[in-house]
């Protein structure tokens, strides 16, 4: 969570709200912030830290591990129309890549705004594609990996 917090300004610049969730209580969140997170990132985690006691929320989002009693690492991008655009779920040992999260948000925002589509690994400023009959079989002319 500290890694996402470190990029919080970038997320705010994109008008993105971040919410974190674990099965810990709000009391534990507070102390984690005070004892550890605030020492990892200046000011600590600036976004709301939610409590999913019992894993009810994690269950409907497909990330609750009943045997362990915790929510595993799952992250979701939700658009302004409240539609889930992306999800990534990892077993707990490997941390996420917040830069890739940022890239995906930028790509989805671009797609929603322009109606274009973004090829693999797209970064702002790079070639986008405009789907249509003329592009069929011709993608190679405008884009290569």
């Amino acid at each position: 969570m500290a890694a996402v917090a470190a990029l919080y300004n970038d997320f705010q610049a994109l008008d993105v709200e971040v919410l974190s969730l674990s099965t810990d209580s709000r009391f534990v969140h507070k102390i984690w912030q005070k004892e550890e997170l605030s020492k990892m990132v200046d000011g600590g985690v600036p976004f709301p830290m939610l409590s999913d006691g019992g894993g009810k929320i994690g269950t409907v989002y497909g990330v609750y591990d009943e045997a362990a009693g915790v929510d595993i690492r799952g992250r979701f991008i939700i658009d302004p129309d409240f539609v889930i655009r992306a999800m990534e779920v990892l077993t707990p040992e490997v941390g996420r890549n917040p830069d890739e999260l940022l890239r995906q948000v930028k790509a989805f925002q671009h797609v929603v705004k322009t109606g274009e589509v973004t090829p693999s690994g797209w970064q702002p400023g790079e070639t986008t594609l405009t789907p249509g009959p003329d592009l069929v079989g011709k993608v190679w002319e405008v884009w290569k990996p």
Binding site: M1, V4, L14, D15, V16, E17, V18, L19, S20, L21, S22, T23, D24, S25, R26, F27, V28, H29, K30, Q33, E36, G43, G44, V45, F47, P48, M49, L50, S51, G54, K56, I57, G58, T59, V60, Y61, V70, D71, I72, R73, G74, R75, F76, I77, I78, P80, F82, V83, I84, R85, A86, M87, P92, E93, V94, R96, L101, V105, F108, Q109
Partner: protein
């Protein structure tokens, strides 16, 4: 007696399951036992929920996912506070 705002136990609604009203505190569990399935899908509407939260600078607050409707939202689940990664 004044009402406790930050008592030891403060139920939040949990997920608002399809088919009507947001689940009431205490009721979510029983409904969930019947449903108990994954509802989140890309391209589909997010499932609303209510949860208690800690917010730096604000303290304890109950928040709903739908409070943030109209903005881009990133929802991050993780295994637990004080874990290593």
């Amino acid at each position: 007696m004044p009402e406790l705002t930050d008592g030891c136990v403060k139920p939040a609604g949990g997920p608002a399951l399809p088919g009507g009203e947001p689940a009431a505190p205490g009721l979510a569990g029983s409904i969930l036992q019947e449903v108990n399935k994954v509802l989140a899908r890309v391209g589909k509407e997010a499932i609303d929920f209510e949860a208690s939260a800690f917010i730096a600078g604000e303290g304890f607050k109950t928040v709903k996912l739908s409070d943030y409707k109209g903005k881009w939202i990133i929802l991050c689940f993780y295994p637990g506070d004080f874990t290593f990664v």
